[in-house]
């Protein structure tokens, strides 16, 4: 399988604090990669670097490279809006816009120039189906998205991200604010999504990482300790620190 994102010796500083200490990693197409590690280890920071959402944090400085389809995303000629269209993001807390369900989904496509009613209708339906939400909301597309349950809101956010037709989806602890039933639905959805998308997910939940991911990367104190097939990471990690973490000795 081809690598869609490659980071090479990626270092990131918040002011003087080195939050990422040279991350080198290759993310293969149509796989789910889980980033695990204790709080503050840099996994969320790394995730947000992949679509340059870290640009918004004042005082951030990046060294090294992140290649997306072979193109360095920090190169001056890169259009960051195009990058974010291709590398979508789902946040920890469901954050639908205070608009109708339909307008939430249509927001992205409209931004990028789709205005035909028929095309939008089609995109909205496809995106909602893609996030397995269509059946639940098809009768109330014009109702406010804020009336949905937390789990539905999160699937709406996934649908919204799908609507701009990305090929990578970044998910920052997408289920940590949800109840177990909603969590399972989203995990099932992710298994579906990986048929068409590359998914990178940050999770604090070890079982979740073990259940859903193909590869697993363990982060500690701004370093990536190791990455490998999920089974191997959980059964015979190469590094002692990984073993200590996944067996619950710290973290």
């Amino acid at each position: 399988m081809e690598n869609i994102i490659t980071s090479q010796d990626l270092k990131l500083y918040y002011g003087n604090f080195e939050a990422l200490k040279g991350i080198t990693v290759e993310l293969a197409e149509r796989e789910i990669t889980a980033l695990i590690g204790p709080s503050g280890c840099g996994k969320s920071t790394f995730l947000k670097t992949l679509n340059r959402m870290n640009d918004l944090v004042p005082g951030v400085r990046v060294e090294g490279q992140v290649l997306y389809h072979g193109q360095d995303i920090f190169a001056p000629e890169v259009d960051v809006t195009q990058l974010r269209k291709n590398v979508g993001m789902v946040f920890q807390k469901p954050n639908p816009f205070p608009m109708s369900i339909y307008d939430n989904i249509a927001y992205g496509p409209r931004l990028h120039g789709t205005h035909s009613k028929a095309e939008l209708n089609d995109l909205v339906e496809r995106s909602l189906r893609g996030a397995s939400l269509w059946e639940e909301v098809r009768d109330r597309l014009k109702k406010s998205a804020l009336g949905l349950s937390g789990g539905q809101q999160q699937r709406l956010c996934i649908a919204r991200a799908l609507a701009v037709q990305p090929d990578v989806l970044l998910m920052d602890e997408p289920t940590s604010a949800l109840d177990p039933a909603s969590t399972i639905r989203i995990e099932e959805l992710m298994a579906e999504l990986k048929k068409n998308y590359t998914v990178v997910i940050v999770t604090h939940n070890m079982q979740q990482a073990a259940r859903i991911s193909d590869k697993c990367a363990f982060f500690l104190l701004g370093e990536m300790v190791e990455i490998g097939p999920t089974e191997q990471i959980f059964s015979m990690p190469r590094d002692k620190r990984t073993e200590d973490y996944i067996t619950g000795r710290f973290g």
């Binding site: 679509n51 959402m53 918004l56 809006t81 195009q82 990058l83 974010r84 269209k85 979508g88 993001m89 946040f91 807390k93 954050n95 639908p96 816009f97 205070p98 608009m99 927001y107 992205g108 931004l111 990028h112 804020l146 956010c157 919204r160 991200a161 701009v164």
Partner: protein
């Protein structure tokens, strides 16, 4: 012990008294306005009063039509709003979303100061700078006009629009904006398509507050509007509801004086309506937050 209890009771009474003082004032003013405004309306006739186009209060056969004042106040306020809202809203966007913190912290006190400048000073600057300027640019014999009043009012309502809108824009959850940016929106698209719509009820409240200030302003308007009871036209001298009262009050008597009270009653009704709209706008905002 007894003394303590007594002090408690006394203080409670004082608090209660202060609490109802404001309500009492509003009630008293309302009653007084209605009581002193109605007789003239009854004598002149409501239709003639509201829709009469001629105000000649000191003529031999006096006529009391206040349509020119009503329309002038409405047009003047609308014009000031049309000019002030875009500038005010974009200033609020600048302060809340665009400006670096240090710069915003310097601009904000300047805006607040704008609110603190007495209206007579606005009038002075208007009459000494704006009025001659308008006369020169448009080739008018006199620059005192509806246009001059609109311009002065548009500046005077800026602080209310800016500070209320800024607060509303700041209250927009950053998650909304992050979501928009993550979908590939530019910061400008995010402001216009997410932040402003999300803050719309607060912004509306700011605008209504500005409208309230504009329609109630007398002093600055009196100095730049020319005070002739014409039907409103952009380059003519005009009289607002407020200035119709203030310019004649000192020498009025009889029916003329009563008619001035009636004008005040109409103005009062305008302000009441604006306040109701404001409350609805604010409530709408709270509902939206759920």
């Amino acid at each position: 012990m007894k003394a303590k209890k007594f002090v408690e009771k006394l203080m409670n009474a004082v608090f209660f008294f202060c609490g109802i003082l404001a309500v009492g004032c509003v009630l008293l003013i309302t009653v007084y306005m209605v009581a002193s405004g109605l007789p003239a309306i009854r004598e002149i006739g409501l239709g003639k009063f509201l829709f009469g186009q001629v105000w000649a209060s000191t003529a031999k056969e006096p006529r009391f039509g206040i349509l020119p004042f009503i329309l002038t106040s409405v047009y003047g306020t609308a014009g000031a709003t049309l000019l002030g809202v875009p500038v005010g809203l974009l200033t609020a966007v600048f302060l809340s979303k665009v400006a670096p913190k240090k710069l915003a912290d310097r601009v904000r006190p300047a805006v607040d100061l704008l609110a603190g400048i007495p209206s007579v000073v606005y009038g002075l600057i208007g009459v000494s700078v704006l009025v001659p300027f308008i006369a020169k640019v448009f080739g008018l014999p006199k620059g005192t006009s509806l246009l001059a009043a609109m311009l002065v009012l548009s500046v005077m309502i800026l602080p209310s629009i800016i500070s209320v809108s800024e607060t509303a824009l700041r209250a927009v959850p950053p998650e909304y904006e992050e979501a928009s940016l993550a979908l590939g929106a530019t910061p400008t698209e995010t402001i216009f398509k997410v932040s402003i719509p999300a803050a719309k009820s607060g912004i509306a409240a700011g605008v209504v507050l500005g409208i309230g200030r504009a329609i109630g302003e007398a002093m600055a308007v009196m100095m730049v509007a020319g005070n002739v009871a014409n039907m409103p036209a952009l380059f003519d001298s005009v009289t607002f509801l407020t200035t119709a009262i203030s310019k004649e009050m000192s020498y009025s008597s009889g029916l003329q004086r009563q008619a001035l009270f009636s004008i005040a009653l109409i103005l009062f009704l305008f302000i009441m309506v604006i306040n109701v709209v404001l409350n609805v706008a604010l409530k709408g905002g709270k509902k939206g937050e759920k």
